[in-house]
């Protein structure tokens, strides 16, 4: 008798063997299970979406399969079969229809599946191009990103589920032991109540000492000899006020006192400013559907269905969409008003982070 033909085809996985930490399934300090993820696609993707997939993989580093090779014949079960022994807890699945690209976020093996419609997206390369000085330090992707969720109202079930899902995608942080140097990136999910859209952003964190003039900071950071040919005396270099950028003025909100040294410039117990610079993909997501199973099963929530969500929401949604397009300036005002709310949410988020 011949064996049954190919009931299971294994997707090729090339894991980075250099990082032994990546193989750990349990955090050595907190003892929590480290979430790992696969980012892959179903169906054929056009080139920009493939790039987006790669960007998402980078975003999920280090606990993801960066060079996961999928084949046309690989079905979901194949990935699921691999996920078990490798300790993969989350799937991020990109797909594309004629209408728009979709992102599904699922927990394995039975998890709920959230389906997001990607309204807009920009690749990491696009964002780097749009910046004057794109920043990418060497060890940017060596540690997992922090996550900040804001604007999610805990009242709605589907939003709670969403927040929970995204919190669990990234490893939890222990406030007592975490090294500040390992906090290099942050993923922001901002829920807009009015448009019901989720802004997905990915920033790099940079710390700068406060109270030091820009020139001296630059001198310390870069080991180059400064250009002194226009100065009469060395003291001019220190005393002469450099131009200050607008962002440097409103620093008070973004200052922290550090508990430990970060790099050569940011010393412990000195004040430092937190600067964020966008990296990685940018997406505007719309939660479309929540399924109980892994890409199957009972539909818990659907944006367009007439079930729980109701026709009211649907009509409201359309109205709001129109409004949103009409008045962007008005939006900003709203956002300012929401700031206090956002702060509250942040509180929650941080607790969850901890």
């Amino acid at each position: 008798m011949r064996k049954k033909k190919n009931t299971f085809r294994r997707p090729v996985i090339i894991k980075n063997q250099k990082q032994p930490e990546a193989q750990l399934s349990v955090d050595p300090i907190t003892g929590k299970k480290i979430p790992k993820s696969f980012v892959f696609s179903r169906g054929k993707l056009p080139v920009p979406l493939k790039q987006l997939q790669m960007d998402l993989r980078k975003l999920m580093l280090p606990y993801t399969a960066l060079s996961l090779k999928e084949k046309k014949r690989n079905n979901l079960r194949d990935f699921l079969n691999v996920a078990g022994p490798m300790g993969v807890t989350h799937f991020l699945i990109l797909s594309k229809t004629a209408a728009s690209p979709y992102l599904r976020v699922a927990t394995t093996p039975q998890g709920p599946t959230l389906t997001f419609k990607i309204q807009e997206y920009a690749l990491a390369a696009d964002i780097a191009k749009s910046q004057l000085h794109p920043r990418c330090p060497k060890d940017l992707f060596k540690n997992s990103a922090l996550i900040v969720l804001s604007g999610f109202v805990s009242g709605d079930l589907h939003l709670r589920l969403t927040t929970n899902m995204f919190q669990n995608i990234f490893p939890t942080i222990d406030v007592k032991t975490v090294k500040l140097t390992s906090c290099q990136r942050i993923v922001l999910l901002n829920y807009n109540k009015d448009t019901k859209l989720i802004d997905f952003r990915h920033y790099s964190i940079r710390l700068q000492p406060i109270g030091v003039s820009r020139r001296i900071r630059k001198l310390v950071q870069s080991h180059q000899v400064p250009d002194l040919k226009n100065l009469q005396d060395v003291s001019d270099f220190v005393t002469k006020a450099g131009y200050g950028s607008e962002s440097e003025a409103d620093e008070e909100a973004a200052t922290v006192t550090l508990s430990s040294d970060i790099g050569r410039v940011n010393r412990a117990s000195t004040k430092s400013a937190v600067r964020l610079q966008e990296i990685g993909p940018r997406m505007t997501l719309q939660l479309v559907r929540i399924e109980k199973g892994l890409c199957s099963g009972e539909v818990l929530f659907s944006e367009f269905a007439s079930g729980k969500a109701g026709d009211k929401e649907n009509s409201d949604d359309k109205m709001q969409d129109d409004n949103n397009e009409d008045s962007e300036g008005g939006d900003d005002d709203d956002q300012d008003g929401e700031d206090s709310e956002g702060g509250d949410d942040d509180d929650q988020d941080d607790e969850e982070l901890d």
Partner: protein, 333 residues
Amino acid sequence: MADKMQVVEPGRGLGKRNIGKKQGRKKSSKKQKVMQPPHGQKKVKINQKMKKLYHKRAREYNSDDDEDETVAPATRRPRGVVPIKKQKREEDDIENEELSEDEGGQRMQKKNVTDKKVHFSEDEEEEEEEGEIQPGITKFTEGCKAFKMSFRSIIKKSVSDELLGPVLSAHKNLVIEKLAEEETERKVKGEAKKEKLLLAEKGHVIPEKFLNSHEKFLISVATKGVVKLFNAVNKAQVAQKGLDPSKNRDAKELRKRTKEAFFSELGKPASRTSVKANASTSKEEDEQPAWAPLRDNYMLTSSRIKDWDKKMPGKNVSDDNEKASEDSSSDED
């Protein structure tokens, strides 16, 4: 056709003679000795081969010329006559060569003269043809001339400056139609491609070069989050700094402090934590934060104590709740 016949016949003649020669060995040997010098000279041999080659080439050239000049019908008749003469001539040639090389050259000349005489009697065209064929090199040059002429005539031709170039008039319309079809096809294909590209790029937005207000807002939100986290980390880690966790008293105090700090930070009563069990289901996220940091707190205090890890394997740590960790720390003491 005629040429081939010519080629074969002289061979036969040779064979016959050879047989005759073989009868007397001495004679043949002598003859061979005589024959050798020509090999050295190579003149004769080359002549023979060259002749054949030239004949062939000349024939081809001439035939082309004939067709080009549209005199073919007139020439075809005499051709039938010519080959026979040629055969005779060539046989003569071969005989001459075999008999005596020295004489051969002279004889050739003679023969040419005789041939020419013969040909003069015939048509002029015929004569020309014969003349071309006869002396090998001249024939070739003649051929070159013909080629030159024809090539010139082709080049001199003025071609209409149309898009299609020189095409037979009957095909012109057809070709035009085809080209038009191709163009329309290309257009359709291009449109399809564009559509496909548009579809592929759907949702893809190139960001602006500057930060708009929405992006600024998002960044501010994110910075707030980061600042909060960093401050929390700072508080938690600075509190421990003065104390040496390896000492018993300090460890206890440390635990107390961190606990208080944490509860104050969370703004939640400590009693709630005791209620907290394993929050495994995803929907209980409200209670999770209160629970998670608390456990972290214990983990931390215990992990700071030296050799604590050795006694307690990692798995137990993760599963046990507060009491277990407290016990373990007391065991340490």
